[in-house]
């Protein structure tokens, strides 16, 4: 449902893009009439290619079709076990004070037998120390398990189709305005890059997210360069 609506939106924006191609392709200040005519013919010659360019890229369509695959993982809740760890350590310190208090305050007062209040202090203090240390260890385990990076995140698993779309997406994003395309190092480096293996980690997902942006930027720069070259060759 979302994919169809976004496709219709992109189709609508495709028409506006082809209209704006002729109007905005020329510089606004100090342009001779021959320059505008040449740019018009160039834009009408590349109308089919422009229509193809205005269509959403393969990576974007993959994103629209399966957005959960590109979801950003939320940070793990570490504040709660951290608070529990601090609290347990403080309680253990309180229990330790209870163990020391009968001797520090001299509750015994030289009696041969330990008074019952001191015995209660010692027993309760030992119990508090034991329970608090156990709780602190368990909270620490929970905290470290949440801080550890999760390698088995299933949201970033990449199948073969997405790898193919990611590999061929930069070529489809490049505009073919010039009939004789120059050899460009960016496309070569991307084409010579071996198809990445499906490693389910965050770097591949980040690459998935950044690839359309880089391709759009490259196409933008290339079209700007073509416009500058056409302007230089015209006079």
């Amino acid at each position: 449902m979302t994919a169809t609506s976004t496709a219709s939106n992109s189709a609508a924006s495709a028409g506006t893009g082809s209209n704006s191609a002729g109007s905005t392709g020329t510089p606004s200040t100090g342009t001779p009439s021959t320059d505008t005519e040449s740019t018009r013919t160039e834009s009408t010659g590349a109308a089919a290619a422009a229509k193809e360019e205005t269509a959403p890229t393969g990576a974007w369509m993959a994103h629209a079709a399966d957005p959960a695959r590109f979801a950003i993982p939320a940070p793990a809740p570490v504040l709660a076990p951290y608070l529990g760890l601090v609290t347990s350590v403080l309680c253990a310190l309180g229990g330790g004070w209870l163990l020391l208090a009968p001797y520090a305050l001299d509750i015994r007062r030289g009696a041969a037998k330990l008074p019952r209040a001191a015995a209660v202090d010692l027993e309760t203090g030992a119990a508090i120390v034991a329970v608090a240390l156990l709780s602190a260890i368990l909270f620490a385990v929970a905290l470290f398990s949440r801080l550890r990076p999760q390698d088995d995140v299933t949201e970033f698993e990449i199948d073969e189709q997405s790898v193919q779309a990611r590999t061929f997406e930069p070529e489809s994003a490049e505009p073919d305005v010039d009939p004789d395309p120059e050899p460009e190092p960016e496309s070569d480096t991307k084409s010579t890059e071996p198809p990445a293996t499906a490693i389910p980690n965050s770097s591949s997902a980040l690459r998935d997210l950044l690839t359309p942006l880089v391709a759009a930027l490259a196409a933008d720069l290339r079209s700007q360069e073509h416009g500058d070259q056409g302007r230089r060759q015209e006079p």
Binding site: T6, N9, S10, S13, A14, T16, S20, A21, G25, P27, E53, T54, P56, W60, H63, P67, A68, F70, A71, I72, P73, A74, P75, A80, P81, G84, V86, T87, S88, L90, C91, G94, G95, L98, A101, L105, I107, P115, R116, A117, V120, D121, T124, A127, I128, V131, A132, L134, L138, V141, A142, R146, Q150, V153, E155, P175, A219, D220, S223, Q224
Partner: protein
């Protein structure tokens, strides 16, 4: 003024950010350390017992001035119980805040 406005450099119309489907952040909910939380609750109970022990066991005479042992027991018990209860509520508040931000309620 019009010279300051940059011209459109590319014919390509990319789908806008609003066109992208909204994806809530994925939040695998971790297991709560139930044993540790039970331990904190036990510590709170022990603190309460420490407060009440001098009076329940008869070590503190009714109406008399508090002895050093009673003062120690009550003060330490109140501190331990208060810290444990604060820790439990802090854990609860942090967990609820995280769930409200990243959890899936449906």
């Amino acid at each position: 003024m019009s010279a300051n406005v940059p011209a459109q450099r590319c014919d390509r119309i990319e789908p806008g950010r609003a066109d992208l489907p909204s994806v809530p952040p994925v939040a695998p909910r971790p297991k709560a350390p139930v044993t540790a939380l039970t331990g904190l609750f036990l510590i709170a109970l022990l603190g309460g017992w420490l407060i009440a022990a001098p009076f329940l066991l008869g070590d503190q005479a009714r109406g008399a001035a508090w002895t050093a042992a009673t003062r120690t027991d009550v003060a330490t018990g109140a501190a331990v119980a208060g810290i444990a209860i604060l820790g439990l509520f802090g854990y609860l508040a942090a967990a609820i805040t995280w769930l409200a931000r990243y959890g899936r309620w449906q």
